[in-house]
Symmetry: C2
Subunit: 424 residues, 2 copies
């Protein structure tokens, strides 16, 4: 018998029929002797419907008092789904109880619409589990020190589930999602892409942040911080497959360095074509110049991803960065109208037709020449590299977007990702 | 400046457009210098939608654990509407904050789906009012001693509003509804029916329980117990009518005996054709016979209204009562199959084609001959009276249903209800 946390997304909770099927899957785990905690999202479409009503009354809810109301409104979506799932389990003869985040309580700070979890009180949940009940807890939300409802932001239910699993020291947190695990790369681009049976926490973090949108990145950070064994698996497999089979499906995020010994140097190829590249040419090379350029960009709420500044010549340097493609025009305008005149740069050039391709692998820490192999592979395909950044476990390049598929396929092959890994 | 509570029903909250109009009305009261607390219902149709989803998963939710979930699910309807109303007020530049019943907290017992309010903590609300905020509190719901969400049953928002007004010692509780007050009788039956500018609490109680479905009866009991000046008024008048005009519209429920001195003996004529009459003939007249007859009926969850037992002859008596027409067939079956054989009665006769007509008036306490005038009026119209019951402030008769309109019109005229009352 183990304490297990299940997380189900909005699609899995999308109708009473689907909720019934989730209940059947949970019941299977109960009947196998496990103590179960379930964290479901709102029924698909519900959060958007609720926020749409709010938007009709206040198109721009930016004050703390308005964001407090947005959170209270949005949180009701999960409050409905936990109640419905509890009823579905009870209808199948399984004792179950639902809690809103405030009832657990799952405590957060007061950053409405993007709150962070500060503490989870496990006493009430433990008492229910001891009494043989399935405990169903709202995802996405908590309560702040003043007793206000807060939400954790989009995708926050993943984070809730992992946080609850951490607080309860659960044996495993299973995230049921619409993919059946984490792949070496996107199978739509590389049909030979292979599902990883395990991935290290650090690799998962890079894969998630680079656009493999399997798990919300904060949930991966949480899993890493508290070393919560977390499994991503498919919610589309029939609920009545044998539990032994289900329990080892998907991809398990691990924290044991040892397990990685036998694994490949590169775990996967991530990519992303949502970015645009901007270069500021001939920037005077003096202290504070990076802040002078990017401070106003950040103030305009524009996220910057890759940032590169190379060595300078003759007291001037070139400064490049990438932003989301949707922010490209706005950023260019901001630079031309306000920033460049103040900084005294020669010119600004931009390109929205780029992509970013990364190799990710914890093995890169200890293996030299991995980046070199990446550059060689791209070179032999005739692909020009526009920008390069590296970290301990990933190397990213910015390329013309027309080369994206070619680059991903070539790298996937070059690092032997089609081959099964060593067993383990 | 006064502390005022407004209550708005589901129709008033039925769309974002209507919520905006409620906000404009509340803002008018704020700008007139009042401290405002608002208790809205869920958007119309929402509670039914939520309970419909629950029913799909559990057609008969009768266990405490299932009813707990029903309450948690149903309560979200009001949680959405309070948040939306807060945003609508803020969008009009009025500071506002919403609370769920659990946040106030509004404490109840644990009778899920029909909980009763035990205590309201006014500290949080008072602090907000002192800070110049409109406080918006969910109707229909509270929290029990174990921290579970409870609901007060259908129409419970009226009760919430009056209870909140009592706890805050509000100057007045205004219930905005789809009628513009309490009438001497139903204007659809008697076009000359007149709106009462005031009605005593006791009369309101009888009018409500006899089918003038203006306010939930529990809210009237609450208003009486805590002497909360409560006004029923129309939510259909434009929100921008002068506040002085709005403040005296509708019907005010009063508690001052003195005010009644000048008023008519009879305040109104109530009626109801939802009942059926059942007579058990030739019942042995011995102790315990009423319980032997009605105990099993109550156990079958059938509500009994009028009960009449007349003096006996030769050791046998006739015993009559009324039930809701929907329960008529079931009650007759129960009597024939189980109760009569056990009791040893001669026969049972029933009639579903009846109506009940009542005259209601606190003045009846001190005026003799009121009932006699009622009987005389019906007699002169040739209407046969089948049953009679009386209390201090009402006299009810059961008639053939075909006479209902005739009886109501004749009584309305006989007691001079078309005439304006003495001023006051």
């Amino acid at each position: 018998m183990a304490l297990i946390v299940h997380k189900y997304g909005g699609t899995s909770m999308g109708s009473t029929e689907r909720i019934r099927s989730v209940a059947q899957r949970v019941a299977k785990w109960v009947h196998a002797g496990h103590q179960m905690v379930v964290v479901p999202s709102a029924m698909s479409g519900e959060t958007n419907r609720l926020l749409g009503l709010a938007k009709e009354l206040m198109p721009n809810a930016t004050t703390p008092e308005a964001m407090r109301e947005l959170d209270a409104i949005a949180a009701t979506g999960e409050q409905v789904s936990v109640g419905l799932l509890a009823l579905a389990l009870q209808a199948q003869g399984v004792s179950a109880v639902s809690y809103g985040g405030w009832q657990v309580p799952l405590e957060t700070d007061s950053a409405f619409t993007k709150a962070r979890i500060t503490r989870i009180d496990d006493r009430r949940v433990r008492a229910d589990l001891a009494a043989g009940r399935v405990v169903i807890i709202t995802g996405f939300q908590g309560i702040d020190a003043e007793g206000n409802v807060t939400t954790l932001g989009r995708g926050g239910s993943d984070t809730s589930a992992v946080a609850v699993a951490a607080a309860l020291k659960a044996a495993e947190c299973l995230i049921y999602t619409d993919v059946d695990g984490v792949y070496t790369t996107d199978p739509r681009i590389v049909p030979e892409a292979r599902r990883l049976s395990t991935i290290s926490f650090e690799e998962m973090l890079e894969m998630a942040s680079l656009g493999s949108k399997v798990l919300q990145i904060r949930s991966v950070e949480f899993a890493g911080k508290y070393r919560v064994p977390t499994r991503v698996l498919s919610s589309f497999t029939p609920h009545d497959i044998p539990i032994d089979e289900e329990a080892v499906s998907g991809t398990l995020i691990t924290f044991e360095e040892d397990e990685k010994m036998e694994q490949a140097v590169v775990a996967g190829i991530a990519f992303n074509r949502d970015e645009a590249k901007i270069s500021v040419i001939g920037v005077p090379d003096r202290p504070g110049i990076a802040y002078a350029l990017l401070g106003p960009v950040a103030e305009a709420n524009i996220d910057v991803d890759v940032i590169i500044q190379n060595v300078s010549h003759d007291g001037r340097t070139d400064f490049s960065f990438t932003v989301h493609r949707n922010d490209y025009a706005r950023t260019m305008e901001l630079l031309k109208a306000k920033i460049l005149p103040a900084v005294g740069a020669a010119d600004v050039r931009g390109d929205a037709r780029i992509c970013k391709v990364s190799i990710v692998g914890i093995g890169m820490k200890s293996h030299v020449g991995v980046a070199a192999r990446m550059f060689q592979t791209l070179s032999s395909e005739g692909i020009n590299i526009q920008m390069i950044t590296t970290s301990e476990i990933k190397t990213s390049v910015v390329l013309d977007e027309k080369y994206m598929e070619l680059a991903v396929r070539a790298l996937h092959k070059a690092f032997g990702l089609e081959e099964p890994k060593a067993a383990g």
